[in-house]
């Protein structure tokens, strides 16, 4: 319980300790803490900004989707219109084709008929002469009855 020379020793130790702690502990740690605080604040700000950006991007994406939908609807409507048109065209074409085919077939038939008629005509006179000779029991001269035969052929 005395005040002695130890006081001076303690004063020196105390002063040196303050200086030392300031240099090696206080300042580095305070700097680190400040730095950390700043980094956390920056990080929070960045995340805030990121959220905002995301919100904006979402909005944009929605608009884009809306626009795309509209366009798609337009395209579909156009396609539908074109579709009907094409169907009509195809139908017309098919009808034309069918008419043409039918006309061709008709012509062929007519041709066949004419050909059959012709061959029939060429044989009718001989058939008639043979038939008449059988009926009359004597030779019939085809030249003599040429006029009658021709008239017969004409009738076919």
């Amino acid at each position: 319980m005395n005040v002695t020379a130890t006081l001076i020793g303690q004063l020196i130790v105390f002063s040196v300790l303050i200086w030392f702690v300031k240099a090696v502990l206080w300042e580095p740690i305070i700097n680190t803490l400040e730095d950390r605080k700043k980094r956390i604040a920056d990080g929070l700000a960045a995340s805030e900004k990121g959220l905002k950006d995301q919100e904006a991007a979402k909005e944009l994406a929605l608009q884009e989707v809306k626009k795309a939908k509209q366009e798609a609807a337009e395209i579909i409507a156009q396609a539908k219109a074109r579709d009907g048109q094409m169907l009509e065209e195809a139908k017309n074409k098919a009808v034309d084709e069918a008419d043409r085919v039918m006309a061709g077939a008709q012509a062929e038939i007519d041709q066949e008929v004419n050909r059959a008629k012709d061959s029939l005509r060429s044989q009718v006179s001989s058939l008639a002469v043979v038939g008449a000779s059988k009926i009359l029991g004597k030779e019939v001269d085809a030249k003599a009855h040429k006029a009658a035969l021709d008239e017969l052929i004409e009738q076919i």
């Binding site: 005040v3 130890t6 130790v13 002063s15 740690i29």
Partner: protein
């Protein structure tokens, strides 16, 4: 005296006196309350070791500081630094760069020195006595007082430095004239200058004295009570009382130890904050 067998029990007065005696350089006891021819080796040594311990921890943490993954000791010291820094910011917002290191040094160093009080009262003196015995000294003439803050030298060394800083900050912020004006016109205005000088002087002197004496008184009383409790070991039957009282006082003292360190730090900040205020007009 037959103190060699059971000194504590046979002569309680000598036991306590022995424990309250300091190890000095040349074995001299201080002759008066203030005697600068004496140097207490034990007080100085223990406080120096603790200062080195704190210094080493500070250096180790400060050197390997890792801002991203603080671990172990760095976490602890970061917490302490943040705590002290918060106190400084709250009490003394305009503090300069010296206040924080000063406050944390006071807090941690005083805490460490006070903690010596929680080591069993006989352990360190007995160890030192035993070691001295090996080297041929009589253990009963070896004194060792392990708690530096139960010594006025330590507490007043701290208080005096704070006092010096109070004057420094007063002059720095108010100027010499402003500081003198504080003595002349504070607290009663210009019509009571003699009274003002006396009052302000007492006020200013009371700051370091109360700082030093408060810490000293608390720690000394705690130490003394531990000694008295240790004296209960006079018989086996008193042992339960000794254990119970020792535990209770130990638990209570665990509160006192950081509290006193905290109060010393806090008052230092408050005083320096007051000293840094501008001149207030009356």
């Amino acid at each position: 005296m037959s103190e060699s067998n059971a000194p504590a029990i046979s002569s309680p007065v000598e036991y306590i006196q022995h424990h309250l005696g300091n190890m000095t350089l040349d074995g001299e006891r201080p002759a008066s309350l203030v005697d600068f021819s004496v140097f207490f080796v034990d007080t100085f040594l223990v406080s120096l070791i603790l200062a080195c311990l704190f210094g080493y921890a500070a250096w180790k943490v400060g050197k390997n500081i890792d801002p991203d993954n603080p671990t172990g000791l760095q976490n602890l010291l970061e917490t302490v630094v943040e705590f002290v820094n918060q106190q400084v910011k709250d009490i003394f917002p305009t503090a300069d760069k010296m206040i924080g290191p000063l406050a944390i040094t006071i807090f941690v160093w005083v805490l460490l020195m006070n903690t010596m009080d929680l080591i069993p009262v006989d352990l360190i003196p007995s160890l030192v006595g035993g070691v001295a015995g090996i080297f041929g000294y009589d253990p009963h003439h070896v004194y060792f007082k392990a708690v530096p803050t139960t010594n006025l030298d330590t507490t007043f060394a701290l208080a005096l430095l704070v006092f010096g800083l109070i004057i420094f900050y007063n002059i720095k912020n108010k100027g010499v004239v402003g500081y003198a004006k504080m003595f002349l016109f504070h607290p009663f205005g210009k019509w009571a200058i003699p009274v003002n000088i006396i009052m302000t002087t007492i006020e200013e002197i009371a700051k370091p004295v109360s700082l030093g004496l408060r810490l000293f008184g608390n720690m000394f009383a705690g130490e003394l009570l531990f000694l008295l409790i240790a004296l209960l070991a006079f018989s086996v039957w008193a042992m339960p009382a000794q254990i119970a009282l020792g535990t209770l006082w130990g638990i209570f003292h665990m509160l006192v130890v950081p509290l006193q360190a905290f109060i010393f730090m806090l008052l230092t900040i408050v005083y320096l904050g007051l000293a840094s205020q501008g001149v207030d007009e009356h």
